[in-house]
């Protein structure tokens, strides 16, 4: 129990617009232990970023609302704490890094100042030493802390962002597609570095990505997200194991990846498009695109099935009756 760092219980998030509500997250339950890294995978629009922002309370004020559920971090429900406590948590206990390094840094302050800022916000009156230290940790010459963001390349900027996020040695790092904007060689470097630091500092991580390859490299656990729901969740081995049964969406995702070892000449993409979160389909959200869609699927949302070793699947296919029927 002491090991459990973060627990999400049926979290639901919607965005208010003038005409309608956008149902971005529709009942997510997750757990994360100390030192673990969880890969959160899904297409664009699945609600991954929204979920991460909800954890930190960074949803656009007045527009985004967590209207149901609990987010329990080290025993505290983050949805109930006062704003001051949240500010303490941000940067100190939970950090977040974002997708586009080119725009994530303030162009008018030096990188040293920006890193020092996160340290000063959380009580460190003399941050210079620590700034040098953390820059060294991410592989940047500390003498460059007087330089401005525009004087660095994309990959270096992302490293600075990571340095900022890890400066106070947070318990949890939320990484929202940190390498998507970088080219492949840099991507590998950055990922390796994140992995390295994470091991060194014992930081837990939620890595949001749409790239299964990245997940394979760095994560202990995987959660597949679709239309605001977790449709499959388990350890890396569980999810990547081709012999196990998987959610049809997961199958589709893997099928979309080019495989050098395979003879196939054509990819098998998933038919259809992610549903509009302001106009979700009846029943199971994946039903319009699913090869195994039944009448029940069209009427009722999928049921959750958890296997003995903790592999969770949210699909009618895997309820006891159906399983038995299939077998």
């Amino acid at each position: 129990m002491e090991n459990k760092l973060l627990e999400l219980k049926d979290v639901r998030v919607k965005y208010h617009t003038l005409d309608y509500d956008v149902m971005a997250v529709n009942g997510v339950s997750l757990e994360l232990n100390k030192g673990e890294s969880l890969g959160l995978v899904g297409e664009t629009g699945a609600g991954k970023t929204t979920l991460a922002l909800s954890i930190l309370g960074l949803l656009p004020k007045g527009v985004g609302e967590v209207y149901e559920g609990e987010i329990i971090f080290k025993g505290e429900d983050l949805l109930q704490v006062p704003e001051k406590r949240m500010r303490d948590i941000r940067g100190m206990h939970i950090s977040m890094i974002f997708q586009d390094p080119m725009t994530s840094l303030n162009p008018v302050y030096t990188v040293g100042d920006q890193i020092a800022e996160v340290l000063q916000l959380h009580g460190n009156k003399h941050p210079d030493e620590r700034v040098d230290e953390i820059l060294g940790l991410v592989g940047i010459d500390p003498s460059r802390k007087v330089c401005y963001p525009h004087q660095f390349s994309g990959g270096m900027k992302q490293r600075i962002v990571i340095a900022m996020a890890l400066a106070c040695e947070p318990d949890l790092l939320l990484a929202d597609e940190p390498t998507t904007a970088l080219d492949v060689t840099i991507q590998a470097q950055v990922l390796a570095m994140i992995d390295d630091i994470q091991k060194k500092l014992g930081t837990s991580m939620i890595l949001i990505t749409h790239d299964l390859g990245v997940v394979a490299e760095t994560c202990d656990k995987v959660a597949i997200m679709y239309a605001g729901e977790i449709v499959e969740y388990g350890t890396l081995h569980q999810v990547f194991d081709k012999t196990r049964p998987h959610h049809p969406y997961t199958v589709g995702l893997f099928g979309s990846i080019p495989d050098l070892s395979s003879d196939k000449r054509r990819l098998e993409p998933i038919y259809g498009m992610t549903p509009d979160p302001s106009d979700l389909p009846e029943g199971c959200y994946f039903s319009p695109r699913c090869n195994h869609c039944t009448e029940l699927c069209k009427q009722k949302g999928a049921a959750i099935h958890v296997s003995e070793d903790g592999h969770m699947l949210k699909c009618h296919l895997f309820t006891q009756e159906n399983k038995e029927a299939a077998e």
Binding site: L58, R87, M96, F98, E117, L121, D141, S143, H150, M164
Partner: protein
């Protein structure tokens, strides 16, 4: 950086030459006789002719222009054609008054416009935002002449709080400064509001919040510094317009400033006076633009490389390479 400043200031020379040539050319098209204006209808024609001759009006255009430029090099703006008073003296007495009013107006516009714009942006769509935006629009469009007259009626006639004319006491500055500033306040509110709104949507703001920064810090430390760039540019450009546009305010409040000088010299066909005033305006325009550019570079580090000499950049690069090795 000093070389850059020097280069910009050297541009003053062709600008002044061009501007004065234009003034000379345009005024020579306007009919009118300085001698007749000064000596009046009762004077004999010989007297008028003699006066015009003494001004050198019978010389060909380029001779006159050349003599004028010669005077300029010695910083002598010549003598007014209406009575021979020294243009230097007149400008020296008129300029500080206009300048004072304009600078104070700019400061007032900045001090009131910027916070209102920020408030409007931060509380977008609230009642405060809508009310303030409407007030800003009214201020930006209000005719200055009407505003000045109305203010005088209210504050001088009805309430007896402020003096009607002149710049004698600090109270006397209030109406002229606010009259001059009115349009600029509206402009500043709108500029800073839209600029802040732009910046608040940017990613680095999200990063700042994710670091645990207080909302006040996010607005004033992070967003404001970036949005000041466009606000500064607007205000800087507007200053030149302010200087030339003080005519109405000076007229209503009886301030003997540059605006009054210019209007009178045009209707009197007084070329040296007009030319002198226009040169001053052009010079201020160049200087203010230069200051704005420098301020721009100070605010936005991305632009600083422009102002650092090429040699310096090469040197820095060499050093960096050496460090790397």
């Amino acid at each position: 950086m000093w070389r850059y400043i020097l280069k910009r200031l050297l541009w003053l020379i062709p600008i002044i030459l061009g501007v004065t040539l234009l003034v000379f050319a345009l005024m020579s098209l306007k009919p009118g006789d300085p001698g007749r204006v000064y000596l009046g209808l009762n004077a004999t024609q010989e007297a008028v002719d003699a006066y015009n001759e003494s001004l050198g009006l019978n010389d060909p255009f380029f001779v006159r222009y050349f003599n004028y430029v010669k005077g300029l090099i010695k910083l002598d703006f010549g003598k007014s054609w209406v009575g021979g008073e020294s243009v230097n003296d007149r400008i020296m007495s008129a300029l500080p008054q206009t300048l004072k009013v304009c600078v104070y107006a700019l400061v007032v516009a900045f001090i009131t416009g910027l916070p209102i714009g920020i408030l409007s942006a931060v509380k977008q769509y609230s009642l405060a935002d809508r009310v303030l935006t409407i007030i800003a629009m009214i201020l930006a469009c209000i005719p200055v002449f009407w505003l000045c007259n109305m203010a005088a009626m209210l504050f001088t006639l009805k309430l007896h709080w402020l003096p009607a004319t002149g710049l004698d006491t600090w109270k006397a500055y209030i109406m002229p400064v606010i009259g001059t500033a009115a349009n600029t306040i509206g402009l500043t509110v709108r500029m800073s509001r839209s600029s802040m709104l732009d910046e608040m949507r940017k990613d680095y703001i999200r990063t700042a919040r994710a670091k645990g920064a207080k909302e006040g810090s996010v607005i004033f430390k992070h967003a404001l510094r970036n949005s000041l760039i466009s606000v500064t540019t607007t205000l800087g450009v507007n200053f030149s317009i302010l200087m030339g546009g003080t005519v109405f305010v000076e007229n209503v409040y009886a301030i003997q400033g540059l605006g009054t000088c210019i209007v009178r010299s045009i209707s009197n066909n007084d070329v040296p006076m007009l030319s002198g005033c226009v040169i001053i305006l052009a010079t201020f325009s160049v200087i203010v633009n230069l200051l704005v550019d420098l301020l721009y570079a100070y605010l936005d580090p991305r632009l600083r490389a422009k102002y650092v000499g090429k040699k310096k950049v090469a040197k820095a690069r060499k050093e960096a390479l050496n460090d790397a090795n």
